[in-house]
Amino acid sequence: MHVFKSIEARPMPGQSASPLAWLRVNLFSSTSNSVMTLLLLALGIWTLVSSMDWALVHAVFGANLQACNEARGVGACWGVITEKGRLIVMGRYPEAEHWRPIIATAIMLGVVVISCMPRFWNKALPLVWALMLVVYFILMKGGWMGLTAVDTDQWGGFPLTVMLTVISMTLAFPLAIFVALGRRSNMPAIKALCTLYVELIRGVPLITVLFMASFMLPLFMPEGVKIDVLVRVVVGITLFSAAYMAEVIRGGLQALPKGQTEAAATLGLTYWQTQRMIVLPQALATVVPSIMNTFIGLFKDTSLVTIVSLYELTGALGLALNSDADWRPFKIEAYLFITFIYFAFCFAMSRYSLWIEERTAVSKVR
């Protein structure tokens, strides 16, 4: 009879909590890994040092054209921001009235932010939105209560970007809900119409929709009626984003268990009551992250309206720098500036949507 002899105890694994151990595990675990780490570190340090050198050490911060020219190729000329920053961010809005778009945009962003917080989801929210829109347009357009009138074709820069995004989203949302419901309806005619709309709009680029809106809307109007360029662009963007949002909402509707509508039916609720009280609240809550993604996408897509000559942030940069031969060589710094603005906003919004998603999703991580 063999006596059970236990094998030698294996040596304790090396400490995995110290920084050295962390380095070993994460960066130098194998030869190829180590080589990769060293290469990336070398590349990273070189890139970091040379860009810091360009962007900070040798950079010119004041609006000094001569210093900028001398520093060309060696240091960044952030003076172009000091000089043209206002024009880029605010567009052609009259300088004396710049306080108006600033306050109006702040109010609009504030209302958008509180609408994202579930704490404020109650019956007063639509009223707050309506009030905000009224105040916004009074402030921007003027002509009332002593404010000088400013035409819509002078609105530009960052306030225009925010305005186009928020207004289009607000208008597209109810349209998208109806289209999504229509696509899932049992009535073949309505389903066909909604499907046609969504597939048509989703199959073409935004730029063709904008071109169509700006060329064709005036022709659609009866004789003598003129539409503002801004209105045309808003209509185009709204129709475009409504199609995408309808798809998102449809996904949410599909994810809802059928039992919900069946239970509502047994309670005797009509179709619209079911949608209003049972289906839509649950479906919309599920797709909030996707709606946020659509919002972020829309925020970035507003940069295209430059092509139909509304000068939002990207277009205002072209306006500010293209005709000024002195500052035009420093376009790249200006581009980096607005890249940073877009990145900051979109990154913040995407972080927020991730946070919402984590809060509401059932944890799948073991």
């Binding site: 074709d153 700006s214 109007m221 009866p222 004789e223 009626v225 000559s309 293209n322 031969a325 035009r328």
Partner: protein
């Protein structure tokens, strides 16, 4: 069914109301201008010498002066003009749709624009031709540009002329077409193309305002096309066309007869009967146009005669520095020949 009846009736009424509200009245352009108290003038987004705004938003240029002259003639106030900056792509639809009353945007008169776009040419306030701008170097003539890349803006007569010239002279030019004029000039100044092409007056303007060192760019002497530039109005309103046409002709004829901004007042008592007619001292020409008799006098007081307009905006003393050239009076061998105002 009662619930649905209510919603149905409500929506039908709403739709009817909307239809009624949107069927506005279509009036003649002059009536609309008088009612509005403003002439809406479509101009360039920024072409120095023709229509450009300074940093305070004041517009000036040859085309801007036409608008001011018309406003002075019609509304007695040259400041009652709203300037709408338009790109090359937007200009025709803006005019066709009624968004603007007159398009004064250095636009070439061509057959297709007149016949198939439904627009009428008012008259040439600048006879021009298309040319090339190259960095100063060994190229002195357009025929040396064999195989060169040329930056051009889309939506203008420029593209077609470039192709015609390239094919006729077997130059095999390669166009790089941009949607926006700033992108086209930017690409040229960055060195992407060896040449930039547009109307010669536009080249002078771009060189003066956008080149880092204007002296290092050369505008080649070859003009490859005819470009009569001038204001345009839309079809269907002969009265408005007549007003624009004769304001322009009147300013040209004023130069012919020596009436200037400075001497317009004393010229009123001139012996020359034609001068008397032009200034409304003797005959009332304005009634043919639906205006009062001092229409041209006011226009001249505001902008001066054609020659003064030219000198002030694009003449040799300005940074644009264009020679009078083809735009001289007919009596001096140029092309400006105003039909007689009588």
């Amino acid at each position: 069914m009662k619930k649905y009846t209510r919603t149905l009736i409500g929506s039908v009424l709403a739709a009817a109301g909307l239809m009624a509200a949107t069927s506005a009245m279509a009036g003649k352009t002059l009536d609309q201008i008088k009612q509005r108290g403003q002439v809406v003038c479509g101009v360039n987004t920024g072409l120095a010498g023709f229509s450009a705004a300074d940093s305070s938003g004041n517009w000036s240029g040859l085309d801007v002066d036409h608008c001011r002259a018309v406003a002075a003639a019609v509304l007695s106030d040259a400041t009652k003009v709203k300037y709408v900056p338009l790109t090359a792509q937007q200009r025709f639809t803006a005019l066709q749709s009624g968004e603007i009353d007159v398009l004064a945007r250095n636009t070439t008169s061509t057959m297709s624009r007149d016949a198939s776009l439904g627009l009428h040419f008012v008259g040439a306030n600048y006879y021009d031709g298309q040319g090339f701008m190259v960095p100063k170097g060994k190229i002195t003539s357009a025929k040396q540009l064999k195989g060169a890349t040329v930056c051009v803006q889309s939506g203008t007569t420029t593209e077609k002329n470039l192709t015609d010239y390239s094919r006729a002279n077997k130059l095999n030019l390669k166009p790089v077409v941009f949607e926006k004029v700033e992108a086209a000039t930017g690409a040229y100044f960055a060195g992407r193309c060896q040449a930039y092409t547009t109307d010669a007056s536009g080249l002078a303007s771009v060189r003066a305002k956008e080149a880092k060192d204007p002296a290092t760019h050369l505008i080649l002497p070859d003009l490859i096309s005819k470009e009569p530039l001038g204001p345009m109005v839309r079809r269907g309103d002969d009265e408005w066309l007549a007003i624009n046409k004769w304001v322009l002709a009147g300013l040209i004829e004023a130069e012919e007869y020596g009436i200037t901004q400075a001497n317009a007042d004393q010229m009123k008592s001139s012996d020359n009967p034609q001068v008397g007619r032009l200034l409304g001292a003797t005959e009332d020409l304005g009634k043919h146009l639906g205006l009062d008799k001092e229409w041209l006098y006011r226009a001249i007081k505001v902008t001066g005669n054609y020659g003064e307009m030219f000198e002030r905006n694009v003449g040799p003393k300005t940074s644009i520095n264009l020679p009078r050239g083809m735009n001289r009076q007919w009596s001096q061998g140029g092309l400006q020949y105003a039909a007689p105002l009588r």
